[in-house]
Symmetry: C2
Subunit: 771 residues, 2 copies
Amino acid sequence: MAIEPLTVETEEKKKDGEKKTVLTIPRHNVPPVWAADKQFNLVGKPQPRVEGVEKVTGQAQYTTDVRRTGQLYGAVLRSPHPHAKVISIDTSKAEALNGVHAIISRNDAFDIKWYQEKLPLFDEKVRFVGDEVAAVAAESEEIAEDALRLIAVEYEVLPFVTDMTEALAEDAPAIHADGNTVEEESNERGDFAAGWNSADHQLTRTYTTQAAIHNPLEPHATTAHWQGDELLIYESTQGIFTVRSEIAEAVGLPQNQVHVIKQHMGGGFGAKQIAWKQTVFAALLSKKTGRPVQVALDREGETLAGGNRNPTRQTVRLGINQDGTLTAIGVEVLVTAGAYSTAGEASNISGLFEHLYKCENVKTTTMRVYTNAGPAVAFRAPGYAEACFALECAMDELAHELGIDPLELREINYTKRDQKQDKPWSAPDGLRHCYERIDEAFGWRSRKKPAVHGSKRRGFGLAAHEWQAGSGQPPAYAWVKINTDGSVDVVTGTQDIGTGSRTILAQLAAETLGIGMNNVRVQLGDTAMGPHAPTSSGSYTTPTMAPAVRAAAIDARDQLLEAAAMLIETEPENLVIKDGKIYEAGDEASGVKLSEVTGRLAPHMIQGHGAYHALPSDTSIRTFSAQSAEVEVDTLTGEVTVLRVVSAPDCGRILNPLAAESQVIGGVTQGLGFALTEARILDHRIGIVLNADLEEYKVPTVADMPTITHAEVNVPDLNANTTGTKGLGELPLIPTAPAIANAIYDAIGVRLTDLPITRQRIVEALEEKNG
Amino acid sequence: MAIEPLTVETEEKKKDGEKKTVLTIPRHNVPPVWAADKQFNLVGKPQPRVEGVEKVTGQAQYTTDVRRTGQLYGAVLRSPHPHAKVISIDTSKAEALNGVHAIISRNDAFDIKWYQEKLPLFDEKVRFVGDEVAAVAAESEEIAEDALRLIAVEYEVLPFVTDMTEALAEDAPAIHADGNTVEEESNERGDFAAGWNSADHQLTRTYTTQAAIHNPLEPHATTAHWQGDELLIYESTQGIFTVRSEIAEAVGLPQNQVHVIKQHMGGGFGAKQIAWKQTVFAALLSKKTGRPVQVALDREGETLAGGNRNPTRQTVRLGINQDGTLTAIGVEVLVTAGAYSTAGEASNISGLFEHLYKCENVKTTTMRVYTNAGPAVAFRAPGYAEACFALECAMDELAHELGIDPLELREINYTKRDQKQDKPWSAPDGLRHCYERIDEAFGWRSRKKPAVHGSKRRGFGLAAHEWQAGSGQPPAYAWVKINTDGSVDVVTGTQDIGTGSRTILAQLAAETLGIGMNNVRVQLGDTAMGPHAPTSSGSYTTPTMAPAVRAAAIDARDQLLEAAAMLIETEPENLVIKDGKIYEAGDEASGVKLSEVTGRLAPHMIQGHGAYHALPSDTSIRTFSAQSAEVEVDTLTGEVTVLRVVSAPDCGRILNPLAAESQVIGGVTQGLGFALTEARILDHRIGIVLNADLEEYKVPTVADMPTITHAEVNVPDLNANTTGTKGLGELPLIPTAPAIANAIYDAIGVRLTDLPITRQRIVEALEEKNG
């Protein structure tokens, strides 16, 4: 394995409107890329979760399971008003309650800036129902809740606006000092107007998508313990290093005095990429009391203040010729950040319009506004799930209008290039493979509706997309320790957010070292000792960490073989490791056990180091997926039964088909909820969320689930990284809503352009159509 | 920094009488050795402990401070007999006690082998008063203690022997199946008999040293939590990786499923190098109960079963010519391991006789026997403290006999070579520097007794030695993370046993990176994520870890300078880092802050890797010290007041004079206790220890302490490793007892050859002398 020369790469990055030079220093061993036809022992085979037993037997510790001596419990007082000025806060009665240890509010002069607006943690205004006004630490959650009721807050109620269109009006209440615009962006490639005007057909259609709530089963939670000059934080987070840097900055500690730990997580889905206010509340309450403090959001807090998928209104304009070639793609997006811009809300809605189809003339405009609602935050494929609904429903409408099969229409407009970056896709046929697999596994081209049965109608729908999760988000590092008994620890700074990262990384190390899965433990989720790893988001974790772990395992293996070669009296390059045994190729009987070699090396313990830095690429590393759905719609009740969904994502090489299938099932499930049932219901007249609970907010249950098939593409992307694998997590969710919407149209002949497609909306649309 | 080619070194090592090939693979970057006259910002300056505030404010968590949810507390039932067969154990009444959760004893068929004899954890025989018979886990320590009294044990009492000379007798009770001999070893260099016979003068003298108890303020303690297939252990230990491997083997888990943590420690002094029975008791009780279990020894358990310095009887024979040149050195050593050979008792008594003085004819024989007493274990400079008392008292006697000044006599017999390994010392003038510093700082050659005052007599004494703690005990590894805010984490797998390792390693990293001490945190004491480091013993920690941390910091610094060079637009080699600022040499104004560079690199976090493997050396890397004492002896009462001690240890470059002085003060204090007051008093008629507590076992108090001066030698040993530093911890204890004994002789004219030199022994010796 050669040491690559040190090179320095510069990159221009826009932040706060300012150009900034970003330096990165790739400095690592680069192992050869796995060949496309490489044969594996463990990789590519279904491997159950290494932490599965621990989880199903209830032994896995989550953040709210942490119990430290003297631990206190927090509760958060939230604004009952969508917009108000905080005149005064009287905490004296609450402080007098037996068992209450500390209260923080505006009365405390904490000079802590929060969210991207750099407002105080407790501002002079509250901006949504649920906005944080105070936090209490007490002996129990119950006492803390009781204390909240004893805090007297005097508000000056202000006019408010929760509808994003109304927020744009000139006389709308100003939510922030600079007004209600968060950002406005416009991009054009080619000449949209020319393309539009030259088109044989023009389609203009407006779509809306709703605020969906992430609803991880484990809510946001922190257990903080400020001891001396060090702050220990157990956090349910997708990014331990992000929480570390954000909290360090907020509370004024260096990063190395903040120690963030996360071992297991009950879901994040993008809502746990940042440090939220409960994190800093727990830290400050711990500092004030000198005791560990646990603050977990209840389901109401989670719904109101724990993030949501940003509602959108998208006006799509597609120009198309009679032969099906697109001449113009346009979209005007209105989207709301809610009351605050959190730094976790990045929602790339225009990207899909710019990338998916071959088209010379593309124009996108995006307007992001504030409203008096809970802050939006990235939700599994942020922007793309919303955009895919609009673009892919519009494409479906064109297909029907032109009498071209929807799959055919997509093939007509197929592109092998990233038209925005003007370079080829790393996998130019990636999406084509997805289409092929859909056709095979779903039987798209041979689909046939059954005979009509009473009020029920069958339909088929299709949607596709590309997505960014290609090369990962390096740099990342890994260390592989081969212990003296031959057991192996893989040390990284990543986190397993419930997606199976431990399992995949154990597979890679075990494969490389020629040992069994159960010989490897993956140590992660700890900022103190772990090397840097990025936040687990954007489906980045596998393509980021897998190459780093592989490189570290190779470095360890090379050292192991050097030692084994001495014992066997041969050259290292003649040796093979398999099933924990090392032997000369072709002479298995001559071998020694791996543990014999490491035992002889004792007390030396082999340490392998690996890194993964993305190097400049002449391809655009992207992922793709296509999805098709068969639905049955009851035209009397509006009930939609999704019968089957086939998802064909191209994530390069599939490292673990079982983990991949879990992602597909989970993604389609969330997509189905987004399509049909899930929506935060905010009464715009009073600014209050009416369903901040899991009874009225309708997450799909097992009874709602169709048969879900993962139609594996599994073509290694040799341009992506040395393992040929790319991200998967977000892909299966993105096209579900448009596939279902298109199937509903196919079933009942009406276009539903507003999500979720509730029974009421179907019935109303059918009534309108039928007069 | 060049990458050294991979080389493989083989070494013959004797273990269990068998030759074994030990493989080591040095594979690391070797930075240049620090020049002898290198100027430093932080190294060599007194730096207070980085964890000092945490400790003195009571925030530092020790093993017995660990509190986990549902934690149980253990107690250990110990044998009241020095030797007995366990006929039966009835735990039924104890089990019925409210609050008792589990009991383990011989009744449980644990197939666990323990100590080097590979006997069962609970054997059919007990072999000393205090031997472990059962262990209980209960809701509280009090309940556990109560439960012990309800366990009925039927013993068949056996004849016993606690005196090591008696243990050699043919009819002595056999303590182990193979008899009472642990090992017998004899070595001769040259021709002892010829040298002895040719000598002008011959001295034969027998010395005895006592069983001293380590008495760390924090006793041995374990908190174990067996969860699923993983065992978490908080342990008060000098060697987290040793505890991991020993416990893993004992309980049948792979090493990577045993996670050992140690953050702070209240002393070990050699008694905590291994996993003791309480460690495995806690693990097994946790497995049985499913709850965390804490087992800490009380002071009685600590004294009886937590290890002791092996008592010795040494018959020294020195042949010397009239001019002071030694012609023969001989010693016959009888030493007892106590009842068990623990693997931690290595006590090199003969080594000093073989190494210290230039002599062609050296013969040593060592006989180690079992007795029915608590197991011996390494105690700060094991063997050498005992040997130094014998050899250096004998040399003093010869000096007086020949009328040669004791310092002069030592210079006459000075050697620059390791005569056993037949190669030069790494620091040929090391011990000579010690003598020079003693002469300067104590005023040895100008010493003068004051006028006699009543019954009190003054005297001066001197002693010297060499010691093994030279190159450390590699391999060792370190990782240096420069965080995006410029703060730094040093990650190692070592432990700070209270000696200041955190501080020294922080100094090295800060020095190399040109930042302040408070910008660095040292992460250690955790086997899961930390890279391999050896047990902290043999004064090895600094010379082992310092080169590894330095190498890692250099690797990190190189990456940092690459990035900074881009910003400053120069070449890295032109750059200087100082006080957290990076600039072109000579142009400080042009500089950028380190944190600006790392901030621009974000999310990249710099990871430096470093290792230290000892390479074959053509020198023998050893340390040396000399020590002198002034005492006042009251001839009426026998009371000895040590007035001042000057210690001049050669540990190469002194990295932190404050930490070094602490070691000197601590070492002299323990040496003074060994000389005058400390002894386990075992009544050989009944086999019982009479002073298993800190009231009757006399550790020196502040009232007993002399003025202690660290006469720094501080000459970097450029052969030792790239930092020029060697170990220090054990040096200041080794010569204290003979220096005091020689001073007592100088004061009152009688030779005391048995330790401790109590008032009673002085009075008796004076009575005998005066008739």
